[in-house]
């Protein structure tokens, strides 16, 4: 099982490789795109940190990664593109191919079709935006020639076990650390924002905003329910404000099951994070995967070790709302 790590610069290749990254994913955002589309990304990350700024820099990083035997996957995974964007998209794809990236991470069926029509011969990976919740979806993408699927965050361990047991022969990736989105990425139509309290609310991820919540008896806002005793429900609705705050959400306990399922790689979210954090995340997972593969612990022993290492690494206890696969906290 490999660790799929974010990569933002040439300088990050060595420390992330040393920490145990087995694959990199990255994106490019140049001024020309930003000038036309300041609030729309080409790759699900709007302006700001987390992008290579020049294709020459991407090429240098890809060369350095390849020297270490690590493939580099390139994100062009916005949910849809319109025709007017394609001249720029072509430039972005051609630039990535010249940089010798190893695969494109895509989501839009229009782009997948366009790549085929235009004779591009490069492996395609389906982003979590591709919403593979069932065996038929996996087959749908397999028949399109897709090589790898990143699962949605919104499958529990039992569902992943069921799904991977009946999948066609296709590589798989599952989320493991950071940015536990409350909504299904591929079915979320908010314009993607940024995390962080310093971000102006207009451009912050919509799911991170504090909402004033009211209970209604029907879809009609005028029919608000005012009976007492509903604080429980209101509190429950506001839980989501705590989820996508990037307070180290983690699914490391599920590595045990992922290994049994044959999941090929686990994804660390975090383009734009400081290098030290990325390296720390990767090293945390690498030690756990090494333990699984070398010591073959039983599940309880592995869970206990993963939780201990989480607390030591991130200086916080496991919390239900920060657990990517919360069944692992209730199954013992």
């Amino acid at each position: 099982m490999k660790i799929l790590s974010p990569l933002d610069s040439l300088e990050e290749v060595a420390p992330l490789a040393a920490a145990g990254a087995g694959e990199f994913f990255c994106g490019v955002l140049e001024e020309e795109w930003y000038g036309k589309y300041p609030v729309i990304s080409i790759n699900r990350r709007p302006a700001g940190k987390g992008h290579f700024r020049r294709f020459a820099d991407l090429k240098a990083a890809a060369d350095a990664a390849h020297d270490k035997g690590i493939p580099v996957y390139y994100t062009v995974n916005e949910h849809y593109y319109i025709e007017a964007q394609y001249p720029l998209i072509k430039k972005y794809i051609d630039g990535a191919l010249e940089a010798a990236v190893d695969a494109l991470i895509v989501s839009d069926f229009g782009l997948i079709a366009w790549l085929e029509e235009n004779g591009y011969d490069i492996p395609l990976h389906i982003s979590t935006g591709g919403t593979v919740f069932n065996r038929r979806s996996a087959l749908f993408y397999k028949e399109l020639g897709i090589q790898n699927i990143t699962f949605p965050r919104h499958l529990d361990i039992d569902e992943l076990q069921d799904l991977t047991a009946g999948m066609p022969d296709i590589e798989t990736t599952a989320f493991i650390l950071n940015s536990r989105c409350i909504n299904v990425d591929g079915y979320c139509t908010f314009q993607h924002g940024l995390a962080g309290k310093e971000i102006f609310p207009m451009f912050r991820n919509a799911c991170m905003l504090p909402f004033e919540v009211q209970i209604m008896t029907s879809g009609n806002p005028a029919q608000q329910m005012s009976a007492p005793g509903h604080s429980l429900m209101l509190d429950r609705q506001k839980v989501w404000e705590k989820v996508h705050v990037d307070d180290h959400p983690c699914g490391a306990c599920a590595l045990y099951e992922f290994r049994e399922m044959g999941i090929g790689s686990v994804k660390v979210v975090g383009r734009g994070n400081p290098t030290e954090r990325k390296a720390g995340d990767v090293a945390f997972l690498k030690e756990l995967i090494d333990m699984l593969e070398n010591e073959q612990p039983d599940r309880a022993a592995f869970r206990a070790h993963a939780r201990k290492r989480y607390q030591e690494t991130y200086d916080r206890s496991c919390r239900m709302h920060m657990c990517y696969y919360p069944r692992v906290m209730t199954d013992e």
Partner: protein, 265 residues
Amino acid sequence: MDQALFISKRENLSYFTPDFTRIYFGQEFCERLMPGAKDLAEVLAFADEQGVGFSLVTPYVTNKGLDALEKLLPMLAERRPDAEVVCNDWGVLHLLRSDYPVLVPVLGRLLNKNKRGPRIMNIIDKVPPETRDYFVGTNLDVPAAAGFLKKRGVYRVEFDNLLQGLDLDKADPEIHKSLYLPFAFVSTTRFCLTANCDSAEGADYVGIMPCGRECKEYTFGMANPVMGMPLIRKGNTLFFINETIPEVVNKGGVDRVVIQPEIPI
């Protein structure tokens, strides 16, 4: 102009009037809320009596949901071989194509990824024209995208009534377009916060959990100033209301209006 009534429960056939030429029945957002065979049979019988078209609306599904759907489709294919199936999951489209080619696939609004967040209205007049074109546009203006759908038998795509407007002038004319009124979906989750919302147990649990169909009882209004309008959380999905008939209807850009008298959860 085709006018369809969209209901997610059989009892809502009471909204039917002779103005409607088609009935949409089913569920887009939660596989647990898919209709059973009995309800489907009754709604099909009603559609037959009224002499109107029928579209089964299907959600995104896990393997479990896929299995449940496979119990409905044989009856639909036998009873109404001309029926449409609105697909909000690529796996469901794959299933139709391979096992039920007689049924007519429609691309649901969840697979139509237009940006819908109401915050767009704060900036739509300030962004560069290229960005505005993106927000009101569709990938159906990309010949490869339209060809992809047509190759798979999809000649109709469902649209929400975007606050920022919808420009379908460049979209492939061979693909028919439907417009949903007045509820537009914004986002959906399987970490349903309505599930067990009236129970203290699991109040801090954010994940996929069993539920008591609390969505049938509770609806939540959610307000934040930057949204410019309240969002509505019904079950696992966020909606907004847009009752304004958009220009695209009068321009002939859509040939079917899908009326939702209630939030379709």
